[in-house]
């Protein structure tokens, strides 16, 4: 690849890699050839066919959506396509499924919806993908252009509504270019820092005749991505790392999205630098490795938060220093000089000032750093300190016989019963935090959760998308809360209909548990709207959907029930009744000092 003097890659070259892996043949030529073949075999005749052709050209295999008036022409064009469409129960489910598909596959997931309520139902999933920089493309039907602005039936200003929560969106007004608009949206979702894009498709545009065959998927020429970091800054950062006495690496979700986990692992291991991850960074570094300090932040491990607070040099890769990680800015890694690697220049020094800004692709920059660092930091004492913190702040929990089942035990039993490549999806709440803390993540793209937006109800539809993106030998486990599961459990119908092998485990505390925990800590125990007086039986509910239902109440039922649920070929639901009083610790209260994490309620 050619680089200009600033190390930027012209987008015309990068865009090609969006659609085809580099195998030596000039991309443009081969792409053009494939496109032409398709165009000759069955030429596009309408705007809607151009939309579907654009998706076929970039190799889309699955789409998630719900039918409706304004999107019907697109669905009609899908009828003859090899793209497999999964009809979801709700458009929110479609957007979460597409998002999860994108996380696991590393290629944009596709969701479709009609105008008006279809489009607005997608919004939560789009916003979720935006916060977590997940590659996704949403295609929405729209009323015919002549009616736009007249408050027509099922008209919503979809591009207006989704502008703040998409990486880019566009109202497609021309049947001759609608296919290229879709290609561009796909390329944008997948290039540089990933994110959701949306194309709004008015019905007259998709119905209109056109003989214009969509060309290769290209990002617009105004969109540039810097691949390599500035060499001077790399050299300066290398000197800093060599001189560090208390170095850590902080690996974020960008490591996984940028497929940079191998480079990061090699760097940490070569130079014996302890590694902390963010929540989206789970799986970037094997948590069973000696250097792993695991997750830092609000519910991170005590040792991760001690390490992050006391380090003098931080190599932060692909993280946006979210407040759930940093706690109060004033007390975040206050002695550390920050080397920040990120593909998005706007993330550098946004929340935490970086002395060494390294803008570029994570894998490329880590290679640059690996080359520039000639001597490992002398940090024997620091590593010993980190190990000591590990023994001082163990994550060990009690399982007294006279108390109800502990959730940590269920999570560990699930982890033990599944392979290293098993995929975990979750809802949002305490159960999500127990999954972070007690599942030992060792592989990238196995942790599928709602981080930045914190969307309850994410887990079930995400499991549908993850299942279709995963390899057959990867188990898909959905760890849900009773509250979260109730928000989207209708997608279980889709899992049954599509014969998807998914194991849902509801950590059922009959509480909006995370809220209840905060009420106990910060609102004098007033359980306003966090307590259920009635909760459905999730095992019988599962059976009504046609899934297999199980229930766990006691420790001795855990292993065998999990085994039976995993063995069942199809979707199963385990309703695990856990201690309703169980709380998540450690905890750094919002805006607090990471080093002052609480180990129990009386320390808050």
């Amino acid at each position: 690849m050619a680089h200009d003097s600033a190390g930027r890659t012209p987008m015309s070259e990068r865009a090609a890699s969006v659609t085809s892996p580099d195998d030596g043949e000039p991309h443009d030529e081969r792409e053009a050839h494939e496109y032409e073949e398709r165009a000759t075999a069955s030429p596009v005749t309408t705007g809607a066919e151009a939309v579907i052709r654009a998706l076929e050209n970039v190799g889309v295999e699955y789409a998630f959506g719900v039918q409706g008036g304004a999107i019907m022409p697109v669905y009609d064009a899908l009828y003859h396509s090899d793209i497999e469409h999964v009809t979801m129960a709700h458009e929110q489910g479609a957007s979460h499924a597409a998002d999860a598909y994108g996380i696991v596959a590393g290629e944009p997931g596709v969701c479709l919806a009609t105008s008006g309520p279809g489009a607005t139902n997608l919004v939560t999933g789009i916003a979720d993908a935006d916060m977590d920089s997940d590659p996704m493309i949403a295609l929405t039907g729209q009323v015919p252009t002549g009616m736009v602005g007249n408050d027509a039936f099922q008209e919503t200003d979809t591009t207006g509504v989704t502008k703040p929560v998409t990486k880019a969106n566009t109202f497609s007004s021309n049947p001759d270019t609608v296919g290229d608009d879709v290609g561009e949206a796909f390329a944008l979702a997948n290039t540089g820092r990933p994110g959701p894009t949306l194309v709004d498709l008015p019905k007259d545009v998709t119905l209109a005749e056109t003989d214009s065959q969509p060309g290769p998927a290209r990002v617009p020429d105004t969109y540039e991505v810097q691949e390599r970091a500035d060499d001077d800054v790399v050299r300066a950062a290398a000197r800093r790392i060599e001189a560090a006495e208390r170095p850590i690496m902080l690996l974020g979700g960008g490591v996984i999205k940028g497929d940079a986990h191998e480079e990061c692992r090699a760097f940490a291991i070569d130079h014996e630098i302890p590694v902390v991850t963010t929540m989206p960074g789970l799986g970037a570094f094997p948590e069973d490795h000696e250097l792993a300090m695991e997750m830092a932040g609000m519910h991170g491990t005590g040792y991760a938060n001690m390490a992050i607070t006391h380090c003098d040099t931080m190599v932060a890769v692909g993280t946006r220093f979210d407040d759930r990680l940093t706690g109060g800015i004033e007390t975040f890694a206050p002695d550390a000089e920050i080397i920040h690697v990120d593909i998005d220049p706007a993330e550098i020094s946004k929340n935490i000032h970086a002395e060494y800004p390294l803008v570029g692709d994570a894998a490329t920059v880590l290679e640059q750093l690996a080359e520039a660092v000639t001597e490992s930091p002398k940090a024997t004492k620091w590593r010993a300190q980190c190990q000591q913190w590990k023994s001082e702040y163990p994550m060990a929990y009690q399982t007294p016989e006279d108390e109800p089942l502990k959730p940590e035990f269920v999570v560990e039993a699930l982890d033990a019963a599944t392979s290293d490549r098993a995929i975990v999806t979750t809802g949002v709440g305490q159960h999500q935090m127990w999954a972070c803390q007690y599942w030992t993540f060792t592989e990238p793209r196995t942790w599928v959760s709602s981080h930045g937006l914190g969307t309850m109800g994410y887990g079930m539809p995400a499991a549908v998308g993850a299942r279709l993106a995963a390899d057959d030998d990867q188990e898909v486990i959905c760890i849900e809360g009773d509250g979260s599961f109730l928000m989207t459990l209708q997608e279980l119908a889709v899992a049954v209909r599509e014969h998807l092998d998914i194991t849902v485990v509801v950590l059922n505390n009959e509480y909006i548990g995370m809220v209840r925990q905060w009420q106990d800590a910060f609102f004098d125990g007033r359980h306003s709207a966090s307590e259920y007086h009635w909760c459905p039986e999730f095992d019988t509910l599962a059976e009504a959907f046609g899934a297999k239902g199980f229930r766990i109440d006691e420790y001795d039922e855990v292993a065998e029930t999990i085994e039976a649920a995993l063995a069942y070929d199809g979707p199963s639901v385990i309703d695990a009744h856990i201690d309703p009083r169980a709380n998540v610790y450690p905890m750094v209260p919002s805006g607090g000092d990471n080093g002052q994490f609480a180990l129990s309620e009386d320390q808050l």
Partner: protein, 222 residues
């Protein structure tokens, strides 16, 4: 409630000596310093297409950038428009605003202008015409022209820097101001320099690798 873990309590743990300010910059904990704000002009060359202005204004309100004025208009190229923004922010806020602007897909280039850049604003000011010759004299003093006169009103057009416009308003107020309309600041760089060429400042480092903070030119406005 259950779920507590073992380990030394918060008050028994060592605490680091350092601290950061609210901008995430490490500071001497002894000196309390909130960073000063600076007013500056940012010029962006954008694709001339519907929605770009909404993109830019939406971005600035969403991210709570303190924006004083925003103007947009066509340029020498039919396909491009120029957006001129005046913002007042602490240094990191200015950097963040520029970076966020660059991320918008229809934005071609972004640049913060030098303090000596040409900045102009146009104002129409309508005052009571009880003393028409005095109004004309004040208009002349500010290099303006009377563009409409009726027995009751006089409307004057003034162009110039923000400070000049503000001074003019002050002086015209003696006649009784009926209405004012201002365009907001538009600006171009001086000389052969392109106003919205690419810029990407890289930090500088001393021999031993320690960062030397970039020099920021203070703006004296207008």
């Amino acid at each position: 409630m259950t779920g507590g873990l073992e380990g030394p309590p918060p008050e028994e743990r060592p605490r680091p000596a350092g601290r950061r300010n609210s901008q995430g910059i490490r500071i001497d904990p002894e000196v309390e310093a909130e960073p000063d704000t600076r007013r500056t002009v940012i010029s962006a060359l954008v694709k001339h297409e519907p929605g770009v202005l909404a993109d830019v204004s939406g971005l600035f309100s969403r991210r709570q950038f303190n924006i004083e004025s925003l103007t947009v208009g066509p340029t020498e190229d039919d396909e491009r428009a120029r957006i001129t923004l005046v913002i007042e922010e602490p240094e990191p806020g200015i950097e963040q605003a520029k970076k966020q602007l660059r991320k918008l897909v229809p934005v071609i280039s972004v640049r913060e202008l030098e303090p000596d850049a040409m900045r102009r604003e146009l104002m129409l000011i309508k005052v009571n015409a009880t003393r028409p010759d005095r109004v004309a004299a004040v208009a002349e003093m500010y290099g303006g022209q009377t563009v409409d006169a009726t027995p009751e009103t006089a409307t004057v057009q003034i162009t110039g820097s923000r400070q000049k416009i503000e001074a003019a308003i002050e002086t015209f107020s003696q006649f009784g101001i009926r209405e004012i309309s201002r365009t907001g600041t538009t600006a171009l760089a001086r000389g052969v320099e392109d106003t919205a060429a690419r810029e990407r400042p890289t930090p500088t480092y001393a021999e031993d690798g320690t960062p030397t903070s970039p020099q920021t030119t203070p703006s004296d406005d207008d």
